[in-house]
Subunit: 252 residues, 2 copies
């Protein structure tokens, strides 16, 4: 009788594709510190030869890392031309989150939860260290929301600017980038929801009042109040615009 050993079934071997090998090679050099911001990559032809892959594979890898803000290609033939290691995480993060929010890979509730956590922290940090430039940007955004001829679209632009200015003023680059990317990813869903709202005049007035109150707390250096107001504002607006429940605020 043959032994009935539980041999694992043969699984297909995952073939790494050429561009993935190139990405890995570039990532390894970045993670080890051998490639730093501003450094140039070798020309495409040279990389293809060294890594023994097609030039198409190298180009695909470069496109992927460009889209992540890790590489930047400067077209042309002069000394300034070529592909360089870059420091452009902001736009890449915003595009990434915008797509995954649109695909509901993150729900509006999830995004609202994350916004509350990040914007509470941004508002309280901003209250502790508001500088003149951020203050001016916030006031400009508030004034633009007050314009009598503001449309839902121009209001939404200024509203986004206000929240981004608070994030910038927090002084923490990664928190600010995340806050800004999440708020930017929500720009179109918020505009669509505003367009569906029948009571926009009342809602926009509430939003303006809430924004002014958040600004006043930040400007007065009241970190705790700025955080509470930011949370209350996001929760209330999410409930009106997206019909989300507004749980009683919890101490954090």
């Amino acid at each position: 009788m043959t032994e009935n050993r539980a041999a694992p079934p043969w699984q297909p071997v995952k073939k790494a594709r050429a561009h993935e090998l190139v990405i890995e090679a570039i990532e390894d050099r970045i993670l080890s510190g051998a490639l730093q911001v501003g450094d140039a990559l070798p020309p495409e032809r040279e990389m293809a030869t060294s890594l023994e892959v097609s030039r198409a594979g190298v180009r695909e890898a470069v496109r992927v890392l460009e889209a992540q803000g890790v590489l930047r290609s400067q077209p042309g033939a002069g000394a300034a031309a070529g592909t360089f290691v870059a420091a452009l995480p902001r736009d890449a993060l915003t595009r990434f989150l915008r797509l995954h929010v649109a695909l509901s890979n993150f729900s509006i509730q999830d995004v609202t939860d994350a916004r509350i956590v990040l914007e509470r922290a941004s508002a309280s940090a901003a209250a502790r260290r508001l500088d003149d430039a951020s203050r001016a940007t916030m006031i400009d955004a508030l004034d633009r929301m007050d314009l009598p001829h503001a449309t839902r679209d121009s209001f939404n632009e200024a509203d986004t600017q206000f929240h981004l200015a608070i994030a910038e003023a927090s002084g923490s680059a990664l928190s600010a980038a995340l806050t800004a990317a999440i708020r930017s990813a929500m720009k179109v869903p918020i505009l669509r929801a505003a367009e569906r709202t029948e009571e926009w005049p009342e809602e926009s007035q509430r939003l303006r009042r809430e924004h002014r109150a958040i600004f006043d707390a930040i400007d007065a250096g009241d970190a705790e109040r700025a955080a509470e107001l930011a949370e209350g504002h996001i929760r209330r607006a999410a409930s009106v615009l997206f019909g989300l429940p507004v749980p009683a605020p919890q101490r954090r």
Copy 2:
């Protein structure tokens, strides 16, 4: 005398590259809801014809969106083969942050600030809703850090698992994904710092004690204490491992 008008200088027109046009076309359909998770893209040849770009351009666009976890390619020729809209943001976010942290596009201080904000929120949310599965994962991680033969590497694995389990237990998918991505992006820098630390036996004992205390607060449902302990732990460890200042904790 000719009028000296301040005409703006001619700027080079930015040519959108073929793959960027394809990305835009796919993104537009995702943002409008016409493409949803699970939907198949038309075959590469067909897309190239419809969009009037080369097949290489289509392939580059697909690679970019694959790397963002927005598309997934299933090789082969059967009915299951093709390129599909996907829901894979986690790994993409982790890789993205890991690269930008390695490039110092976000400093260790920035990352520590963001970790504190997110992990305070995760710890307090986990304390309010701990389930058996997350509890078991946390206990397993704690036990693995206690193993007498734990190396810095295996300790770091279990340490990462502990923080990820708290993030998962918070029940907010985006916050959890961000927390997990940031903690994962810090895995190698933390390991390298641990390798440089001469007083590792003492430090690992402090880390184990802090982790147990955080777990006890979560398990006891004490949200506020869990948040305070998580913040204190991250601040103290960052000061030992990276020499960061440990400012007096501030009310949030």
